[in-house]
């Protein structure tokens, strides 16, 4: 049920009874007015009787005045007679007006008036006589008879009005009874109707209320289930998840987050994130910026800086990789922050192991190449030794010794190169990239000659950078071997090394550019060049070469670009390595790969 229907029913149960009661009140008022109208008629009869009696009294007063005069002959005694005359005329009008509604009473009044006029005519006759003779028995008898007639008529009128009044009283009583019955019946009807209506409405409200309750219950259950589902999902995620309110107080942690931080959720709830999620820079050991503050400031998803370590409550340290994102409500308002992070300690270790593996592979390849290089002169020296043992002629012995010396010099040269390969300083030192490249090319010389590859060298500037020579040698060995393989038999490689000045976002340094005459690289290959285990060499490659090389160059603050050459001279790939003159430890320069 919706709220609107509920309100409608409420309105019905309120307004309909009021309307019904108003109608009932109107009916009762009407009934009362009926009764009062009837009561007014009774009052009217009373008025008629009162005014008629007053008229009679006035006439009697007049008669009394006349009688006084008759008895005394004194004119003064006539004063009431004269005073009454005017008032009687007026009183007749009053009574006449009162009985206008009743023809019978009008007839009675006309008779009274006639009788009065007769009596008055007689009275005038008395007054016109000599005062001495006005008190005769006959005269008096006649006057009395006239007056009796008048009184009889008044009495008849009074009786008629009295009868009328009684009739009216009866009617009023009847009406009153009828009204009482009507009011009682109508009130009863209204009461019953209201009871029925209200109960039906109430039943309906109750029904809809029940339905609404059931629906709400269902919704609550659904919401609970959904909540459980989200909770389970968050709990099941392999990454750690922490949700915070806007003020940075922890509101939720999943199991992994609890495990990594060492804080059970019950204890962490409501605490500031910085207390629970204690992160530092792995290198400097300084406290890292609170991700909540960062999200509040930037209002967007942020990743943590590299080399962030999480110190758990029990002091255990995890290298983590994480991101923090604002939680937004439906209207886009930021209501909190969610942190997602994972323990990358193991993967960092495996990464380090991969780098070590590639180092070993490079070393292994170099060792094989060196063994070959050394075995050749060793063979010669052993042969010379054999010759010397059996040779007595001084000129020949001298010649053999010269040959042996020549081979030994070559061996020394090779072993020196080998030694420098593994003599690694702790801090970066000045490395002449031209020299370094020549050293690598020397080690690869046999292979270069065997493949008949032409090496073109274009060196300019002093080309000295700060760095770790063994690592850089590993990079260039990798790049040159790739170029040799790409160039193939009879191919050519151009090695250009030049100092470059500072540019925007790039300090001065040296660029080593190696271009081969091979097929170039495909788009698909270019996308994977720096991925570990990606190789185009099948069983012969570890797939780690460029990945490790890139890591080394980035560590030196440099960058690698690999593109297809476009100067029209050589057709293959062009690898450009930029290294800054002064190395920037841990500077992360993004490696870009373009294929044209």
């Amino acid at each position: 049920m919706n709220l609107r229907e509920f309100n409608r029913i409420l309105r019905q149960t309120l307004f309909l009874p009021i309307l019904l009661l108003l109608v009932l009140a109107g009916f009762i008022i009407w009934q009362i007015s009926e009764t009062s109208a009837q009561m007014r008629w009774i009052d009217h009869s009373d008025d008629v009787m009162e005014q008629t009696l007053r008229l009679e009294k006035l006439v009697i007063d007049q008669e009394t005045g006349l009688r006084g005069y008759q008895l005394t002959g004194d004119i003064v005694m006539l004063s009431p007679y004269k005073t009454a005359a005017d008032r009687i005329a007026k009183q007749f009008t009053v009574v006449h007006d009162l009985v206008l509604d009743d023809p019978a009473q009008q007839a009675h009044l006309a008779n009274v008036r006639d009788r009065y006029q007769i009596w008055l005519g007689w009275a005038q006759g008395v007054l016109s006589k000599d005062p001495a003779v006005v008190n005769g028995p006959r005269l008096n008898q006649h006057g009395k008879e006239l007056m009796d007639d008048l009184r009889a008529e008044v009495t008849a009128m009074m009786q008629a009005e009295g009868h009328l009044r009684r009739e009216r009283e009866q009617t009023a009583l009847h009406i009153e009874r009828r009204e009482l019955a009507a009011v009682l019946v109508s009130s009863l009807l209204v009461g019953v109707a209201l009871a029925i209506f209200t109960s039906s409405r109430m039943r309906r409200v109750s029904r809809t209320y029940d339905a609404a309750l059931a629906e709400l219950g269902h919704q609550a259950e659904e919401i609970y289930e959904r909540r459980q589902w989200f909770q389970t999902t968050l709990e099941s995620i392999g990454d750690a998840v922490i949700a915070c309110a806007r003020d940075g107080k922890v509101e939720f942690m999943n199991a992994i987050a609890q495990e990594l931080t060492g804080w059970p959720m019950q204890e962490a709830l409501g605490r500031p994130l910085t207390e629970v999620f204690h992160i530092i820079n792995e290198g400097t050991r300084e406290v890292a910026e609170n991700p909540v503050e960062r999200v509040l400031r930037l209002q967007t998803v942020v990743g943590l800086a590299n080399h962030t370590a999480l110190i758990s409550r029990n002091g255990k340290e995890y290298v983590i990789d994480d991101s923090a994102a604002p939680i937004r409500s439906g209207d886009g308002k930021m209501t909190g922050i969610v942190l997602v992070f994972r323990d990358v300690t193991e993967s960092r270790r495996s990464e380090a192991a991969l780098i070590a593996a590639e180092k070993l592979a490079v070393a292994g390849r170099l060792a094989a190449s060196i063994a070959h290089e050394i075995h050749n002169p060793l063979d010669s020296v052993a042969n010379v030794h054999y010759l010397l043992e059996n040779e007595t002629e001084p000129v020949k012995r001298k010649e053999y010794l010269r040959m042996a010396q020549q081979e030994l010099t070559r061996t020394m040269q090779i072993s020196r190169t080998l030694l420098s390969l593994y003599r690694e300083p702790n801090a970066p030192i000045a490395v002449d990239l031209k020299e370094l490249a020549e050293g690598v090319l020397l080690l690869l010389d046999r292979r270069i000659v065997q493949q008949g590859v032409t090496i073109e060298r274009q060196f300019s500037g002093n080309c000295v950078v700060e760095g770790f020579p063994a690592e850089l040698r590993q990079v260039f060995t990798n790049i040159f071997v790739n170029a040799l393989e790409a160039a193939g038999k009879g191919g050519s490689i151009r090695v250009r090394i030049e100092s470059v000045g500072a540019q925007e976002l790039r300090p001065s340094g040296t660029v080593v550019e190696v271009t081969d005459s091979g097929q170039g690289i495909s788009q698909q290959t270019s996308e994977n060049l720096f991925q570990p285990f990606f190789t185009t060499k099948g069983e012969d490659g570890t797939g780690l070469g460029l990945w490790v090389s890139n890591g080394i160059v980035v560590k030196h603050g440099g960058s690698i670009w690999i593109t297809n050459n476009d100067d029209g001279y050589l057709t293959g790939a062009r690898v450009r390595v930029y290294l800054p003159t002064r190395t920037m430890a841990n500077a992360a320069t993004r490696t870009t790969v373009h294929v044209r």
Binding site: D379, S380, N383, Q406, E407
Partner: protein
């Protein structure tokens, strides 16, 4: 140097100095030695001269020892070949095709022993199967 009369051996190696020294060692043992600095000139000599044995370096620019050996086997399969290498791991198909292999640096006595054995075997085989 007195004129040698021993079997004619062809030595092929791109290492000029090493080749020169190896030639001296073999000549001291009485072999006649022809030398070539790469595979193709070696094959020319092999075709033109009555070579009785070949001492061949594996790792060379241009044609490597394996390719040279295959070409020689096609021309004259009876001529024994000793393959020299600084590598421990040579391709299986090459090592089974040649008669002997020798790791460079094993010393002249080993070289001479293998050359000697190679030529003796050739002589034995031609003696038994010469009538065919």
């Amino acid at each position: 140097m007195e004129a040698a009369t021993g079997p004619l051996i062809l030595c092929i190696d791109d290492e000029a100095l090493g080749l020169k020294i190896r030639k001296a060692v073999l000549e001291r043992e009485g072999y006649r030695v022809l030398t070539a600095l790469d595979g193709s000139s070696g094959l020319t000599l092999f075709a033109d001269e009555p070579v009785e044995g070949v001492v061949l370096d594996y790792f060379m620019p241009g044609m490597d020892g394996g390719q040279v050996a295959i070409a020689m086997r096609k021309q004259r399969p009876e001529v024994p070949i000793l393959l020299l290498s600084a590598y421990v791991n040579l391709p299986q198909e090459i090592t089974t095709m040649v008669d002997y292999t020798l790791l460079k640096g094993e010393g002249p006595s080993e070289l001479l022993a293998k050359v000697h054995a190679m030529l003796r075997r050739k002589k034995d085989e031609s003696g038994v199967e010469g009538g065919r």
